[in-house]
């Protein structure tokens, strides 16, 4: 294994700690939450900045509009709720009041994807990245671990424009460097290799690193890229990598429709046609279960990435 971890933590705690840091450094940052303060780890920000926090109750549409209004006056609003209620429930509010109105709102979305676990499909949104990446003016970011989520939370405050920041519920390996600044739109090469590129975001980056170890033991040279910014996409990073490896696997905790895989397919189709394999949820809803059981059942395990990489290499 080229990366090790000694600690696991949920990425939502990275958001909470990043927000706390912003509370101290950025007086214009305000936070809104729709009755999920504990789940989003916002308590510390609220304790330190009570007048800059707005409890919205269970009314996400109003939260998005209120955030847009705050942004109009120059505030930097961070909204907090689950990914499902941050996107599907409020798509028209994101579209008209935030994206089209060019408002500097940071939509921070927890409990995304299958790894939400036992709550089941009503809450396991797998369509959110696709929905938000289709909205003009929005930046879409999915960091891979606690440290990176904290760094990304801090970074988006200094980025002018609407941002969708997606993170999750489960305890997950911490393997990135806490000192490394988060650069929006700049892919992070985790491991260099020449036989195949594995490109992932969010929780799946760790799975890609595990897959690399297995493939390396079998003699394959694997490049692992953390594509934490799905939009705007780092086109140069994709093309540099496939120019070298000649094939790619995209891995994401998202529906195969509308995710990173399709964005990458467009880029390589236009510029450098080569085999691509997709590790993603095959156009279905999730269900109740533990995160690991669900990743296994829906084809998002380490083994699925290993097999996809071998298929991609064979097709070269």
């Amino acid at each position: 294994m080229k990366y090790q971890y000694t600690e696991k933590k949920d990425t939502r705690s990275g958001f909470g700690d990043g927000l706390t840091a912003l509370g101290r450094s950025h007086p214009e940052v305000v936070a809104l939450c729709a009755d999920l303060v504990g789940s989003l780890k916002m308590a510390n920000f609220i304790k330190e900045n009570p007048s800059r926090f707005f409890q919205m109750g269970i009314s996400e549409a109003n939260m998005m509009g209120t955030a847009a209004g705050l942004a109009t006056a120059g505030k930097i609003p961070f909204t907090g709720t689950f990914a499902n209620f941050s996107t599907g429930r409020v798509y028209d509010q994101l579209r008209q009041s935030i994206a089209y109105s060019e408002k500097n709102v940071k939509v921070c979305a927890s409990h995304a994807g299958l790894t939400l676990g036992e709550d089941g499909a009503t809450h396991q949104i797998l369509e959110d990245v696709g929905m938000v990446k289709m909205l003009p003016n929005f930046t879409v970011i999915v960091p891979c671990d606690y440290h990176q989520t904290k760094a990304a939370t801090i970074a988006i405050a200094d980025h002018e424009g609407p941002v969708y920041l997606r993170f999750g519920r489960p305890s997950w390996p911490i393997f990135t460097n806490p000192e490394e600044p988060f650069v929006i739109g700049k892919a992070q090469k985790m491991i260099s290799g020449s036989d195949v590129t594995i490109m992932a975001y969010g929780h799946m980056v760790w799975k890609a690193i595990e897959a690399e170890a297995i493939l390396a033991a079998e003699g394959f040279s694997v490049e692992v890229i953390n594509m934490h910014t799905i939009k705007p996409l780092d086109v140069a990073a994709i093309l540099d990598s496939v120019n070298k490896t000649g094939c790619i696997v995209t891995a994401e905790e998202h529906n195969i429709n509308g995710g990173l895989g399709e964005s990458v397919a467009r880029i390589i189709g236009q510029n450098h046609p080569c085999p691509q394999e997709f590790v993603a949820v095959n156009d279905t809803f999730g269900e109740s279960g533990t995160p690991d059981q669900l990743l296994e059942k829906y084809g998002l395990s380490t083994e699925n990435i290993v097999l996809a990489a071998k298929r991609a290499i064979e097709r070269k």
Binding site: G69, A73, G74, Y100
Partner: protein, 280 residues
């Protein structure tokens, strides 16, 4: 501060602008625009402290947010007539490469526009956010918001209504254009609002009402609303208007919600509206 006679003169010209704009592009919404003419003129020419040099943040200014964005003709005409941009630009309404989009948009950089509106139900939430920002900034000015009555059927309006009262946004003055009409017919037939005043009172608002097509009445009502600020409750004005006011064949009918006049109808309408400030 203009007097009532001067404001009424402006109203006649704004109504001419409205019918000429929708006629020129053969689309748009004359009915609600004509009905809300007195209200917008009262706000921009008399009631609000605002700067036509336009700064998005609007610090130390009164702010207005339109939620029923389809009445953009009256909004654009009033913004132009009060000095945000040249009146000649009204000729570009709804045409290709215009800053005067069918529904208000910030993307084109039209001075005076702080939010897009068109998809209904969102403006009161935005006004709540702007009101919170004023409170945070210790900015004592007020936030105004206009909604349609049919728009009250949108659930988000009631989320915002609950939020505004809970947070004692008592510098928020919302108004409903209570013309009783929506696209498919009378509001009472489409989906009745019931006791709208009672509903807002029950939500914790101070509720006022007035005749919206009477310049003196709307001025006194807005001044009374301002007197009611700072008392712990958001303020709602139920403003009774006639859709299509000022053009006899349009008045009071939902049929003129979203269709333009033809050449003969334009001539008929303009004959009823004195050109007081010069057509654009």
């Amino acid at each position: 501060m203009a007097n009532v006679a001067e404001l009424e003169k402006i109203a006649s010209q704004v109504r001419r602008d409205i019918v000429r704009m929708v006629h020129s592009c053969q689309s748009g919404h004359p009915g609600g625009s004509l009905g809300c003419t007195e209200y917008l003129i009262a706000l921009y020419f008399s009631i609000m402290k605002h700067d036509t040099k336009f700064n998005m943040k609007g610090i130390e200014e009164d702010l207005f947010f339109i939620s029923n964005g389809h009445i953009s003709p009256v909004f654009y005409s009033v913004l132009a007539r009060v000095g945000y941009f040249d009146v000649s630009e009204l000729a570009t309404f709804r045409k290709i490469n215009s800053r005067l989009q069918g529904h208000p948009a910030t993307e084109e950089g039209l001075p005076g526009i702080r939010m897009s509106a068109g998809s209904l139900g969102q403006g009161l939430s935005v006004a709540c956010g702007a009101a919170l920002a004023k409170r945070l900034n210790n900015d004592p000015r007020n936030v105004f918001c206009l909604m349609g009555d049919g728009e009250q059927q949108e659930g988000q309006v009631w989320e915002a209504a609950m939020f505004a009262a809970h947070n004692k946004l008592d510098h928020l003055i919302a108004t409903i254009d209570y013309n009783g009409q929506q696209i498919d017919g009378p509001v009472d037939e489409v989906l009745s609002l019931g006791d709208l005043a009672g509903k807002y009172k029950a939500f914790g608002w101070t509720v006022l009402s007035c005749e919206g097509n009477d310049m003196s009445a709307i001025l006194s009502m807005l001044n009374e609303a301002i007197d009611q600020t700072g008392k712990g409750k958001p303020i709602m004005i139920l403003m009774k208007t006639a859709m299509g006011k000022g053009v006899d064949f349009m008045e009071g009918s939902h049929k003129w919600h979203g269709i333009p006049p033809n050449d003969a109808q334009l001539e008929d309408a303009l004959n009823q509206l004195e050109e007081t400030l010069g057509d654009y």
